[in-house]
Subunit: 346 residues, 2 copies
DNA sequence: CTGAAAGCGCTTACAG
DNA sequence: CTGAAAGCGCTTACAG
């Protein structure tokens, strides 16, 4: 079937070990021999067997991508394809392949990660989420396996894990302050799944901003749903059932916002006239909502790219130690926010 | 580091070959021994080394996913995450992992595919596209490597390749006829990249419907752009520059349609009042355009799932031969189409 | 029903 | 500068 190193060796009149060294471009082989071997390789159409190579030198040249819920669920939100775009770019540049987790439940995912680690399927992992009571991260730390987290560690010491994150607390505080400045005081918070650390950070930023403005937090203004359009729709129903419904909404995710806008429309409420909305993420299609949504660009692509870069650092130099990178966020003002009617301030 | 078969063997007081047979659940091992070995495995936390296993029995238990443009580009369109959802689901059920292509150019991708095939990185491939002058498919055929195409072969004999596809010709004919019935005669066609076979099929279906209705095809009503929102926007500019612009549009892809709607809005044209639109794909967010778009549901998830199922057939039984599956399409009527003003028919 | 041995295709000390 | 040999962790005929 496939051409092996032996056949190349025979053709080039050298030992297999020499061929191996030519592949590795060892400086101990003469240019003349190298050329001869390379010629034989192209003539025969040689391609190295990755399994053999991996087995011999314990390096697979592939990166594992671990998603919170399997592609099946996660890929319903453009956040994940977008991070993977960034990961893919850097991985390709560095000559790495990508291996995707496919498990659904937390147990299945943990089992997959064990397979990746013990089975020698990948050299390192990019963890695309940070969740409360997570089992995966402690496992990776315990195994001293190279990985980078997108998000921030929780219930685990920061000094133990390399991560790339946004300052989600600050971002949430920012958008809340923005709405406050527009005169809103009844601000609803539509968080993502509370199992995820990003949701906790958003929520804390929101509360902090309210506290700073001397507004007491109304618990019935806070709801949590999965980051899907359905989540956004359900959230609106909940919030609008309040006796005094909010006049502005902070929404954890742009896809939810699509659902939110649609549901408000169904309720005959105009955005931004009757409801202001600020969202998070700025995925590719966010500008295509109508009205175009105001959202926080968290530079998803960069999160993926940078995380992979840090992973490469670790793989190239295992002694490099922990690194932390915060990707800046940026409020993108479009057309879902306006001054509150009853507002007395400017 | 990781526990090997040897250590398990020692602990269970058997030979490594016996452990191997227990893993494979060979019927030639006594239940008693199996139990003893399994106990040892869990006690030691044994996980098989995939590289060693793959090397020894030439099976990786992973599927390669080959995209037209690397994740970097492809993932900008929700079509791809959505197919991968389907692939992921079936792959997980069958105990397979997923390996993703990362190359950008056609040459890079071909090189990656060679790596997958010769390097023994995957057992089979799901090809997510069919393009004119494609090099990848002929290579896979020549190598007799198991793969399934999503799309249909072009410049290659159908009897040589297992594929899953929609009847894109028929679907395009259908939507054209639908617009004709609504009284439209000036129907613009916004195709995807003409390198892709699906675009050709769409175009032919469109022309056939026009011919059947005795309407001559206006070449300036046909434009082709990449399947991105920008593509949709550019297409609108082109088409609206016609002396007699179309009153209805067939758009190759929902994401393009988002761009189309936005651009028309900028031109102060109302959909569907001033322009009817039918689109293809029905991705997750399609119903969230405003107005919600009328589109052909091609059941993307099913394409991925079914393709993977067919690939499994091949892997389980290499003699099974070629299979062809057509996934049905369905026109989802929402709110981007209406009767043409000047129409005399009903 | 179980074991000893060869082999999968590489890499890498060890010699020279 | 190059080669012979051992080894990576499995699987699988071959014996018994």
């Amino acid at each position: 079937m496939a051409v092996t190193i032996k056949e190349v060796a025979k053709r080039a009149n050298v030992a297999p070990s020499t061929v191996s060294r030519v592949i590795a471009n060892s400086s101990r082989i003469s240019e003349k021999t190298k050329e001869r071997v390379r010629e034989a390789m192209t003539e025969l159409g040689y391609h190295p067997n990755y399994n053999a190579r991996s087995l011999a030198n314990k390096s697979t040249k592939t990166i594992g991508i671990v998603m919170p819920n399997s592609a099946k669920v996660s890929f319903q939100n453009p956040f994940f394809p977008e991070v993977i775009r960034g990961i893919s770019m850097k991985a390709y540049q560095s000559g790495y392949g990508l291996y995707l987790s496919t498990g659904h439940t937390e147990e299945e995912i943990l089992e997959e990660v064990k397979q990746m680690v013990f089975g020698g399927r990948v050299d390192g992992i990019v963890l695309l989420y940070s969740r409360v009571n997570d089992q995966v991260m402690p496992f990776l730390i315990e195994q001293k396996f190279p990985f980078v987290l997108i998000g921030r560690p929780y219930q685990v010491d920061e000094s133990l894990v390399t991560y790339v994150n946004n300052d989600n607390f600050k971002a949430a505080k920012l958008v809340t302050e923005y709405l406050l400045l527009l005169g809103h005081e009844k601000i609803g918070f539509i968080g993502g799944n509370l199992d995820f650390v990003v949701t906790i950070d958003h929520m804390n930023g929101y509360e902090q901003a309210l506290k700073n403005a001397n507004i007491t937090v109304n618990e019935s203004y806070k709801v949590y749903h999965d980051e899907l359009k359905e989540g956004g729709q359900d959230a609106v129903i909940e919030l609008m059932s309040n006796e005094h419904p909010p006049t502005a909404l902070i929404v954890a995710d742009d896809i939810m916002t699509f659902g939110v806008i649609r549901m408000l429309e169904d309720m005959n409420m105009k955005v931004p006239h009757d409801m202001s909305i600020v969202s998070f993420n700025n995925v590719m299609i966010s500008e295509l909502s109508s009205p175009p949504m105001t959202t926080v660009d968290i530079h998803i692509y960069d999160l993926g790219f940078k995380a992979t870069e840090l992973l490469m650092h670790q793989l190239e130099d295992p002694t490099i130690g922990v690194e932390h990178v915060i990707i800046p966020h940026k409020l993108v003002k479009r057309q879902t926010c306006k001054l509150d009617h009853g507002a007395s301030r400017g």
